[in-house]
């Protein structure tokens, strides 16, 4: 539960009073233009950025200002798929997937490796991929490895930061299917941010739109085409004309 969340960088107010409720087991997608603050919102919820004002409660526990040990315990319930995958270059793929199990939970390497290979299988990657380094993988494969890492510890809440950005349409749909499958099998709560409307329509139970620091609309995925909100309408149909103005400098 997010209430009154505010975050500024210098004079740039990125989040200006965000209120958002996410039910257990629900898949909610936050949409909005590039650079509007979607990643900042997720980072504030996870505690990677400290908000200037407001409250974030996960399972009834206030997370703003939480001390490091308590935050580590809370983050053990969460899995995160980062926009750029954020795989650790110096480790082989299996150790990337098993990292949270080994370093975060103190699991034995052999047992963690077994789980890692199982999770790689769940995202459609073979055992042989486990011994490769992230730099040897394609973008799509890296995204799948990052997804396997996000679900390795069977988290209760999964955050997806632009899961399909930079992927071709076919690979993007593969990732969408994997996200749906993983969330469904785990029964996890999913919070995603994207500006890919195809992905949003496919994986969302509810959609919320972020614009100029506030949630300007939220509703079910089925309702978004009948939102009656001109900002939402312009965004979901990808029209240059409308109330949302993108600054374009003439060269």
């Amino acid at each position: 539960m997010v209430r009154g969340l505010r975050k500024s960088f210098g004079r740039n107010r990125v989040l200006d009073g965000i209120d958002l409720d996410v039910m257990a087991g629900e898949s909610i997608i936050v949409i909005g233009g590039s650079g509007i603050g979607k990643s900042v919102l997720v980072k504030c919820i996870l505690g990677l950025l400290r908000p200037d004002e407001g409250s974030v409660r996960i399972d009834g526990v206030e997370t703003v200002g939480l001390r490091r040990k308590a935050r580590e315990r809370l983050l053990q319930k969460c899995g995160v798929l980062f926009q750029g995958s954020a795989l650790f270059d110096s480790l082989p793929v299996w150790e990337n997937v098993a990292f949270g199990l080994i370093q975060g939970r103190g699991m034995e390497r052999a047992a963690a490796k077994e789980i890692a290979l199982e999770k790689l299988g769940a995202v459609g990657l073979g055992v042989e991929v486990g011994e490769l380094r992230p730099a040897e993988l394609s973008g799509g494969m890296q995204k799948r490895v990052a997804l396997a890492r996000a679900i390795a510890a069977d988290p209760e809440i999964i955050f997806f930061d632009e899961p399909t950005t930079g992927l071709d349409p076919i690979m993007a749909d593969v990732i969408n299917d994997l996200v749906l499958k993983c969330v469904h099998e785990l029964g996890a709560t999913a919070v995603s941010i994207t500006h890919d409307m195809v992905s949003a329509r496919k994986i969302a139970d509810r959609i919320a739109m972020l614009h100029k620091g506030q949630i300007i609309w939220q509703g079910s995925a089925a309702e978004i085409d009948r939102s009656g909100n001109p900002f939402v309408d312009q965004f979901i149909h990808g029209r240059a004309e409308g109330p949302i103005h993108m600054e374009v400098r003439i060269l």
Binding site: K43, G47, L48, F82, A86, F88, S90, G104, G106
Partner: protein, 258 residues
């Protein structure tokens, strides 16, 4: 006049703020070592990177340093028939000063830059945020092992550098100037005290810590993509090099002033 004072004031405040941030960063990283978990694999890998893989460049630098020192000493001392002091000058200069300083500067350029680049790249690609979400403290996992590795490994490197540097002086003295090998070796150890070697190793430990700290600090705080990472590597090498020279003076003053 006022503008100049304002600029000076702003620069002073910026310097003090930067110093404060570095001190806080150092203390926070060291505090993670007060309780487990400890990442021994990361420490050992860092020691390998700092120590073993720096051996060729440090060895090469040390041997030429010893050789040049013997050449220059001969040129100077032969003016007043004091060539017999060359062995003593070489060993004292190498163990007390040149060994740790030159090894420190070489390692700053090689290892400090690499640490800043690696950690900086991790910062700009969200890998450090990923560590946090995987219940791993980035300072405990990335920074502390490197600080400890620098502290432990550079003294070991300097022992090797000292031996090779003295050997370089030996080669020039014996094969170019025709000194007697036994006499040269006697003179090498005649006036060498344990405190000379230990002082060099104390300097090396401090320099190793500083090199690792600057690499980690600038990498950890880099922003702005590839350009930011590039800037971080430059700052890491320059700041480590300057601090090595400052601490060199301070330690020498503390250990050897009357």
């Amino acid at each position: 006049m006022l503008k100049a004072l304002a600029s000076l004031g702003a620069a002073t405040l910026a310097f003090m703020a930067a110093t404060g941030r570095i001190v806080i960063f150092t203390l926070t990283a060291l505090a993670t070592g007060l309780s487990p978990p400890y990442y021994l694999r990361v420490i050992l890998r860092s020691m390998l990177d700092i120590g073993y893989f720096s051996l060729p460049v440090v060895g090469l630098t040390a041997i030429f340093t010893g050789m040049v020192l013997a050449l220059q000493s001969y040129t100077g001392f032969s003016r007043f028939a004091a060539e017999s002091a060359i062995a003593t000058v070489v060993v004292l200069s190498v163990t007390r000063e040149l060994g740790p300083v030159i090894a420190g500067l070489m390692v700053a350029g090689r290892v400090g830059a690499a640490m800043a680049a690696e950690i900086g790249t991790m910062r700009v690609t969200d890998q450090i945020d990923a560590l946090t979400t995987l219940s791993t403290d980035p300072l405990r996992y990335l920074v502390l092992p490197r600080l400890l590795a620098g502290l432990i490994t550079l003294p070991l490197l300097v022992v090797v550098a000292d031996i090779i540097g003295v050997f370089g002086g030996y080669l020039v003295s014996i094969y170019k100037f025709g000194f007697n090998p036994e006499t040269y070796l006697d003179r090498t150890f005649q006036y060498l005290h344990t405190s000379d070697v230990v002082s060099g190793l104390v300097k090396a430990a401090v320099f190793g810590f500083v090199v690792a700290l600057m690499g980690c600090y600038h990498g950890y705080n880099s922003r702005g993509g590839a350009q930011g990472v590039g800037q971080a590597t430059t700052y890491a090498v320059v700041s480590a090099s300057i601090l090595i020279l400052v601490f060199d003076y301070g330690i020498t003053q503390a250990l050897f002033s009357q």
